[in-house]
Amino acid sequence: MQVLNWFFRTKGDDVRTRAKDRMRLMLIHDRLELPPDRLASLEEELIAVVSRYFEIDRDTTRFDLQQYERRAALVANFPLLRSKS
C-alpha cells in the first residue's frame, strides 16, 4: 500500500507542501496580527460593495493573501458578468 501511495502521490499533497502552505498562511497572519475571522468579514463586505455595481460570478471569485518578500498582499479577483443599471 505504501508503495502504491508513493507511486500515485501527486505533487502538492505531500507533508512537505502542506507544512509549507500552512506555514506561509500562519506567518502572514502573525506578521499582520490578523485575527482569523477578519479576512472572511472583509471578503463579505467587499463582495457586497462590488455587487452594488456589478453582477459577479461568485463561483470563481478568488480572495486571498499572498506573500511578497516579508510583506503580504491582498489579492482579490471578482469576475464580472454584467453591470447593474
Binding site: 505531500d14 507542501t17 507544512a19 506555514m23 502573525d30
Partner: protein, 271 residues
C-alpha cells in the same frame, strides 16, 4: 581594535543556538581570529559545558557587570585554542541581573579586545533576548526545518528588523536538516524555509550524531574533516569572514553509489 559583535538567537529553545555558538567560535578561532564567546543565558548556563570549560569557571558575566571582578579575570581561556575565550553566564542568578545598557557597555569593551564577540542569546523574546541583542551589530538566526522553529524565527526576524539602525544585518542558519526526509517530501527543504522567511542564508547544518559526541567530549569540531556538521560550521565561519563558500551538497551526504553517479552528471543538484 574594533571587533564585530554577533548575537546568535532563535526564539525557540532547543534548536541549537549554544551548539552553533560553540562550533562557530572554534571554527573562527581556528583560522587565527581572536574570539570571545559570551553566554547570556543567565541562570541556565551551558556554553561552558559544550566548550569543556565547566571546571575552570571562577567569575561570570554578572560579576563583571557588578564590578566584583575585572573583565579579564572572568574570561576563561579555551583548552585548545589560545585565541578563544569564554565569558560564562551566572548560574545562580536570573535574567534581571543585568540590563541592556550594561550589556551594551560590556560588548563595547569586549570588541576592543577581540576580532569576534559571539553572544549566545537565551530562548524567548523577553528581557534576556533584549539584553543579548543590546550590544550587537549583527545577528545570526538559527532555526530547524520544523514549523514551530520557523514561526519563532520569523518573530525574532521581525524584532531584529525593527532595530535596523543597530543591527545592520541578520542571516539564517538552518540546523538539523535531514536530506533523506526532504527527498521523500516529509520535511521542508532549505529553499522552502528561505522562501517563507525571505532572509539571507548563512549556512545549512545537517543532522549529525557527531555533534552529540563532540559535545559529550567538550570539544566542538573535534571530529575532524569528515564530520558533515563540522564542515558546515567551518563554512559558516568563513562566510562570516566575508569569504564566498559554496553551500554543502546535501544530496551527496547520504549518497549511494548510484546517486553519486547521477550527481556527477548533474552537478546542479545543490542547495
Amino acid at each position: 581594535m574594533s571587533g564585530r559583535v554577533i548575537v546568535v538567537t532563535s526564539g525557540k529553545g532547543g534548536v541549537g543556538k549554544t551548539t552553533a555558538t560553540a562550533n562557530i567560535g572554534v571554527a573562527l578561532a581556528s583560522t587565527g581570529a581572536s574570539v570571545a564567546l559570551v553566554d547570556m543565558d543567565i541562570g541556565l548556563r551551558n556554553l561552558d559545558i559544550l566548550m569543556g570549560l565547566e571546571n575552570r569557571v571562577v567569575y561570570n558575566l554578572v560579576d563583571v557587570v557588578e564590578e566584583k571582578c575585572k573583565l579579564r579575570q572572568a574570561l576563561v581561556k579555551d583548552k585548545r585554542l589560545p585565541s578563544l575565550c569564554l565569558l560564562p553566564a551566572a548560574q545562580t542568578r536570573d535574567k534581571s541581573a543585568v540590563n541592556a545598557e550594561q550589556m551594551k557597555k560590556l560588548s563595547d569593551e569586549l570588541k576592543t579586545m577581540f576580532d569576534y564577540v559571539l553572544i549566545d542569546s537565551p530562548a524567548g523574546i523577553e528581557s534576556g533576548f533584549q539584553n543579548a541583542i543590546a550590544g550587537a551589530s549583527e545577528a545570526v538566526v538559527i532555526c530547524t526545518p520544523e514549523m514551530s522553529a520557523v514561526r519563532d524565527a520569523d518573530r525574532v526576524i521581525g524584532l531584529l528588523e525593527a532595530r535596523k539602525e543597530e543591527i545592520g544585518q541578520y542571516r539564517l542558519i538552518i540546523n538539523r536538516i535531514r536530506p533523506q526526509m526532504v527527498k521523500s517530501n516529509d520535511m521542508m527543504s532549505v529553499q522552502d524555509v528561505l522562501e517563507i522567511l525571505s532572509v539571507k542564508l548563512l549556512g545549512v547544518v545537517p543532522e549529525d550524531d557527531e555533534v552529540i559526541v563532540s559535545t559529550n567530549k567538550g570539544e566542538p569540531l573535534s571530529g575532524g574533516e569528515n564530520v558533515r556538521a563540522g564542515q558546515a560550521y567551518r563554512n559558516i565561519a568563513q562566510r562570516l569572514k566575508g569569504e564566498e563558500v559554496p553551500f554543502l551538497d546535501l544530496d551527496s551526504l547520504n549518497a549511494t553509489w548510484l546517486s553519486k553517479v547521477v550527481s556527477f552528471f548533474n552537478p546542479t543538484a545543490r542547495v
